[in-house]
Amino acid sequence: MVNQLQPREIADEFLAAKESFFQNELKVCTGIEIVQSFSALMDGLIRRLFSAGGFERETGDKSQKDLAVVALGGYGRRELCCNSDVDFMIIHQEPLSGEIREMIPRVLYPMWDAGLEVGHSILTFRECLQLSLDDFRVFTSLLDARFLLGSPSFFTLFQDALWSRIFREKEKLFGKFLVSRKKRIEKYDSENFFVEPDLKEGPGGLRDLHLMSWMAKVYFSCKKFREMQRFSEFRYFEFDDLNESKSFLLKIRNQLHFLTRRKEDRLFLSHQEAMAQLLRYEENPEASGPENLMTDLYLHLNRIRYGYEEFYTKTIDTIDPKPMVTDSEEVSSEFRIVKGNIVLKDGFLSERDPIVILRGLHEASQRGLSIGSSFIWEAKKIISKDGDSLAKVPEARELFLEIVLRSENTRVIRLLLELGLITLFIPEFKKLRNLAQFGFYHVMTADLHSLRTLEIIGEIARGVYDERWGLFREAFERIAHPDWLFLVGFLHDIGKGRGGNHSEKGSRLVPGILQRFDLGDKAGKTISFLVLHHLLLSNISQRRDLNDEKTVVQVAQIVQDVDVLHMLFLLNLADSFATGPMARSDWKIFLLIELYVKVRRVLEKGILATPDATREISLKKEAVRNELKEEFKEEDVLGLIEQVSSRYFLNSSSEEMFSHFRMALSLGKNAYLWELKGIRDASVTKVILCTHDKPGLFSRMVGVFTLNNMEVLSARIFTPKNGLAFDVFEVTNPPDRFRQEEKWLRTGDDLRAAMENQLPLDELILEKGQGVMAPAVYGGSVKKKVHIDNETSDFFTLIEVRAGSRMGLLYDLAKQIKVSGLDLCSAKISSDKERMTGVFYVRDSDGQKIYGEEEIGDLRKTLMGVLDQPLSR
C-alpha cells in the first residue's frame, strides 16, 4: 500500500485530467476519438478507486472470487460523452463479502463528489439475467457490456449465459426493438424537434446507430457493426458514411455537454449560436454560422435516419427468409412486386442500362408502391458513378418529370432526393440540400420544404382540405395548367442558399431549368413570374390594410391575370402550410383568403369600387337606420350617423356597424361597452368596442390585452366627431380554454380601470417581462427595421416595423406613436416567439400624412429607440 493515493486525491486527479481533456482532446479530436479517450479516462478512475479500496485488479478480491465490474451502455461501447451517466454494474455469484460491501461506498462517494452521474447496480448472476429479460433498457445496456475488472472468467461465464438466452429469445426481442424505436420516433419526430433536434433520441440520432449495432449483434452475431459487410445483402451498405456521421454527432454532443455543463442532448436554438462558434462555423455570404452548422447536422441526421430505414428493411428480409410467393407479381418484362416493393425480375441493376432505375421508380410511383432495398443501394452507386450520362437521356428526363408531377407517392419523391436524382436533373437544387434556416419559423430544411410544398398541392388537388377550406379545391379546379402549379411548388425556393433575395434569384434560374425539360416559353414565363412573386400575397395580406381599396388594386395590377392569381394563392397556401405552424396559423390563412377573394373580384369583374363609394355609403347608412329604428329614436340614430366619417362606413361590416351604433346609443356613463365575437373556428376573438375617445386609447388597449396574455393581431380605430371611439380589435383568445368567460371578465375589469387611469400599466407590464417565467427570448438575430411609407396609402402614412419579440414591445411602440403626436387608425401585427412585425397606419393631429423629412427622420429614430431596448430585462 505504499504510494497509494487516497480516493479523494484520485478523484481530484481525475477532475484535473478532465479539465485538460476539455482544453485539448475535446477541441482537436474527432467525435469517436473524444469518446474513446474519455471512456479510457473513466476506466482509469474506476480501476484506481477500486484498487485504492483494496481490490486486486486481476484476481478480484480474496474474499470474493466470482465477481466482475462491468461497464454498460455507452460507457461499455467506449462511447462515453463528457457529462453522460457513467453506468456500471457489479455482478457476483455468492452473497457479497463484508470487505466488498465496505469497498463499494469508497468507490462511489468520490465519484459522486466529483460531480459524476453514476448509474450503478449490484446484482447477482441470476438477478441480472432475469432483469435483462424483464426490462428492455437493462437488456440493451447489457448488449454493450464490457469487462472492467474482477474475474475475467466469471465475466465470460456470464456473457455466455446471457447470449445463449438472447439467442433463444431473439424472435420475441425483434418486436421490442421495433416498439422502442416507434415510441421514440412518435415523441421526437415533430416540428419542434426539427428546429431543436435531440442528438441522441431524435430520428437519425445516435440511438438509431445503437439500434443498428444491437441488431447486428443479436441477429447477425456481429460484435462490431462493420462486420456486417461480410453479408452479401449488406455489401452496398454505406458503413464509412455512417461512421463519419456518428463521429460528427458525437463531436457535437460532447461540445454541447461542455457548453451546457450538463448532459444536454438537445440542441436548443439558444445554443446554436454558441455551438457554431465553438465548432468554428463561420458566416459566409450565403448563410450564417449557425445555419451552416445546422445544414451539416441535418445532412448527418438524414443519412443515419435513412441508413437505419434501409438497414431495417434489409434485416427483416434477411432474418425472415420465408419466400412470400403469393405476394410476388410480375408487372412488366423488367419488374415484379415483392412485399409491396418494386424489384428487378432477375439479375443485378449493375448489369442493366441505368434508365432502368427511372423506369423502376416510375413504376413504383404509378402503383403507389415502394422500391426494394437492393435496388435502392445499387441505384445509388450507379448514379453517383455514371449519373451524368443518364441526365442526358431524353426518356430519363421525361420519366423524372412525370414522377415529380405525380406527387401523391411521396416515398418515391423522397427517394428521388435521397438517390441524388433531383440534383442530377436539376443541379440548381444542390444549394437547397439540407439547407437550414436559423430560427423557429421554418421547420424543415429547404429541400424537404420544397417536397412538402409539392405534396400539399397534391393534397389540395385530392380534396384533403375540403372539409375546412372548400375554397382551396375550388381555386385548384379553375387552374388551366395544374402541372405548372406543381412545378412551381417544387421550384419556388430554388433561389435559396445563394444570398440576397431568393425570389428574384429563383425567377432568373427557372427558365433555364424548364428549357432542359422542353417546356414551352409560356410555361417558363408564368412559372418564373410565380417564383418571383411567391410571397406577394402573404406579405401584403399580413402587412396591409385589406379594407383599403388601393391595397387590393395594387395587387391586381401586379398579378393581372386571374389564372395566375389562383396559382399564386395556392402556392402561397402550400408554402405557408409547409413552412411551419407559425406561417400557417388560422389567422394568416384567413388574411390570405380575404386578399385572394378581393383581388379575384377586381380581376374578374374588372370594376373598381371607387365609382360606387358614395352609393355604398348611403346604402350602409340606410341599413343602420333600418336595423335600429325599433330600438332607438330615429333622430338619435340620424344624429349619430352624421357624426361618423365616410371612411368608417366604407371600412366596416354590417355586424360591426350595428354593434357600434347600438353601443354608442346606450353607452351613457359606462366607461366602455364591447361585444365579443368568435371568428369561425380559429382561436381568435373580434372585440367590437365603443368607448369615449381618450388619448392613447390604442396603447391602453394593447396594454390590457398584453397583461391578460392575449395578442393583438389587428386594430381599427375610428373617432366620430362626438368624442366617442369605435374600435375593432382582433386578438388571440385567452390561453385557458376552460375559463374563457372568467378571463374576459377580468380583462373587462382591467380595461375599465385602464380607462379611468386606475391601472399602472407601465409598471405591470414591466413586472411581467421580468418574471421568472417571462418568455424566453429568441429574437436576438432578427434584423430590426423601421420603414416609413407614404406611397401605399392615399390617406395615411404607413409605419412598418420588424424586431425580435419581447414582452411589451407592441405596448411600447403604441405609447411611442402616441407620444409622437400621431393618430393611429389601423394596425396589423404578427408576432411569434421569435419576431414581431407590425404595420401602423397613422396621421398627424391635423389628419395629414407625415411628409416633412425631419419629422420622418425623428419618428424613425424614436421608434428605433424602442426596438433597440434589450429583449430581456
Binding site: E117, R261, E264, F738, V772, A776
Partner: protein, 112 residues
C-alpha cells in the same frame, strides 16, 4: 436557490421526472398527496350512484435548484405535465435560505 414544488397528475410523474433529471437536477422528493383545485365539488357518477369527489390523488414533487435553473426546470415540468385538461396541476417557486448536505456539511450550491 429556489425550491420548486409541483403538484401534478400521478401518471405524468415518469415523464416529468425524466425531463427534470435530464437537466442535471440530482435529487427529487416525491409525495403522494390528495387535494383539489378548480374542480372542487366535482361530481362523478359511478355505476349509477353519484359521488362527490372532493380530494383527487396527485403527486407532489419537490426539487431544489440554483436560481438560474428555475426557468428551465419549470419549463420541463410544464411541458411534460401538460395534458391541456382540467387538473393538470400547479407549480410553486419558493426561496430557499440555505441547504446543507448532512454527510459532508457542504452548503448551498455544493449541497444540492
Amino acid at each position: 436557490m429556489k425550491k420548486i414544488e409541483a403538484i401534478i397528475k400521478p401518471f405524468k410523474l415518469d415523464d416529468v421526472k425524466g425531463a427534470v433529471l435530464k437537466l442535471g437536477v440530482s435529487g427529487i422528493t416525491i409525495t403522494e398527496v390528495k387535494g383539489f383545485g378548480r374542480q372542487k365539488g366535482h361530481k362523478e357518477i359511478y355505476r349509477g350512484a353519484e359521488y362527490v369527489v372532493d380530494f383527487l390523488p396527485k403527486v407532489k414533487m419537490e426539487v431544489v435548484v440554483a436560481s438560474d435553473m428555475v426557468p428551465r426546470v419549470v419549463e420541463a415540468i410544464k411541458e411534460n405535465a401538460h395534458t391541456g385538461e382540467i387538473g393538470d396541476g400547479k407549480i410553486f417557486i419558493i426561496p430557499v435560505e440555505k441547504a446543507i448536505r448532512i454527510r459532508t456539511g457542504e452548503e448551498d450550491r455544493d449541497a444540492v
